[in-house]
């Protein structure tokens, strides 16, 4: 190796060597418990975009049916939910066609499930990026939300088209964008918590699928929240996903909704978003150490 090494010698720099213009601004690195700022979400949008686009592209690579799965996945869930709750249990949706009723529930549920099941592992899967580059970690989180938006949009669009040709919309539909933003914020908060924890404690890798599998029965995805009587309804209302599903159903299908259910879910959302941001910020400085 040494013969080649000698050729690397840089020698004397040219006399007019210009130290690259004016002195650049200094950046100070000190021991800090948290360093990520809300503005970093915007600053890291380019990284977020590249990672999100790739996640969408690789999802169906080396897959014979490719993007057809985009429709098959929700259709399969819709069939399962319909058989279980409409055909077997026979729930009363208050006059709304059952398929639309279930689709509205799946809109919310499917998005949360997609983001959390892949997102909990995203830091572990990208450990080389975390340990070996200054990649902004918040961009990896935001990319999970962005890359799952098309799947959410497909189910929501199907629900909307179905409603348009059967029931028609009420004025409540104008609130739909607010409900969608609410769902995004709630899911983002949950993702920050589960992904940050999984970087340190692999327990959440086992816990999150369990919660997601059990959760579809404990949220009114396929049945109305008031089906089991007032006590059960109150218990269901403690699940923040209940409020989200009820709000989206109300907005699209005009079903009735209890205000207290919405209030509880909104309270949970604020708590989860704040806790998510704080947990992530606190653990992010040490991701490279303990991932």
């Amino acid at each position: 190796m040494s013969s080649a090494d000698a050729s690397i010698a840089l020698g004397r720099p040219p006399a007019e060597a210009d130290p690259a213009g004016a002195a650049p601004t200094p950046r100070v690195i000190v021991p800090s418990k948290r360093r990520v700022r809300i503005a970093d979400m915007w600053r890291s949008r380019e990284v977020m975009w590249i990672v999100a686009m790739r996640d969408i592209k690789v999802k169906y690579k080396q897959s014979a049916l490719g993007p057809i799965w985009l429709f098959l996945q929700p259709l399969g869930m819709l069939a399962a939910v319909s058989v279980a709750f409409s055909a077997v249990v026979g729930v009363d949706t208050g006059g709304v066609p059952y398929l639309l009723f279930a689709l509205a529930g799946l809109c919310v549920w499917n998005f949360i499930q997609l983001v959390l099941s892949a997102g909990t592992l995203v830091l572990i899967a990208n450990h080389t990026l975390i340990r070996r580059s200054a990649c902004p970690r918040i961009a990896l989180m935001n990319a999970q939300i962005t890359s799952n938006l098309p799947f959410f949009a497909v189910i929501l669009a199907t629900t909307l088209v179905g409603t348009l040709f059967s029931e028609g919309f009420g004025l409540e539909i104008l609130v739909l964008p607010v409900v969608v933003v609410w769902l995004m914020a709630f899911t983002w908060g949950l993702l920050l918590i589960s992904a940050s924890i999984s970087a340190r404690f692999r327990d959440s890798v086992s816990a999150v699928p369990l919660v997601l599998q059990a959760g579809i029965f404990l949220a009114p995805v396929g049945y109305p929240a008031d089906r089991g009587g007032p006590t059960t309804e109150a218990l269901l209302a403690l699940n923040p996903v209940t409020g989200l599903i009820e709000a989206l159903r109300w907005s699209v299908l005009g079903t009735s909704v209890e205000l207290y259910v919405i209030a509880i879910a909104l309270g949970w959302t604020v708590l989860i978003v704040v806790a998510g941001w704080r947990t992530f910020g606190r653990m992010e400085t040490r991701f490279a150490d303990f991932i």
Partner: protein, 246 residues
Amino acid sequence: MPTSSEPALRCEGISKTYTLGEDFSLQKTLTSMVGRGQNGGDFYALNEVSFEVGRGEVFGIVGSNGSGKSTLTQIISGIAVPQAGTATVWGSVLPLLEVGAGFHPELTGRENVALLGAVLGLTSQQVQAALPKIMTFSGVETHLETPLKRYSSGMQARLSFGIAVSFPADVYIFDEILAVVDDDFREKCAVELRRLHAEGRTIIFMSHDLTLVSSICTTGMWLDKGIVKVVGPMDEVAAAYSASTA
């Protein structure tokens, strides 16, 4: 050969510890519940490390495996946070920690170039401007649309180095990177390093290979088990380091 008295990097009392052994296990959880848990203990990856690199300098850091070179790179480039001390960096840092560092295996060569550019805070115009040079330098033109996981380690190394010398930065850090490429490519790298040096960029070189570092660097530091042994002109550092290993 410092070309300027302005600093590019200043480290003052940087320390970082890691915990020994597994972080968590069922056994640890149970023993700590009955109050008999014991920590595996901490060790210092970096212990009160202080040094300064002037602007436009080519600074070498030598030390055997486990001396703390990579931890130091992680701290300077903002990947990890120190437990104590202050590091000040003037301008942008471009770290090259190892072959394929910062690459995403599912992304294509072109997308990885864009990703690394975005991570460094470059605009897409800057990335586009650097792309032709990265391609010719690394010789991966025909593989630009291939996912990185299908690259050989040699191709990854060439792409890593091509990106590192083509993107603009104030401080370049090369951690052991020249050890894995062949002689022809090392000569191409040397040409680029000379150009960066001539442009007045600061270059920090890390290696356990003393011959390599002392042939490139004018000033340097010997790091041993996280402690600065010698810092100063490279020949003094080299003499002390080789005396200890002899």
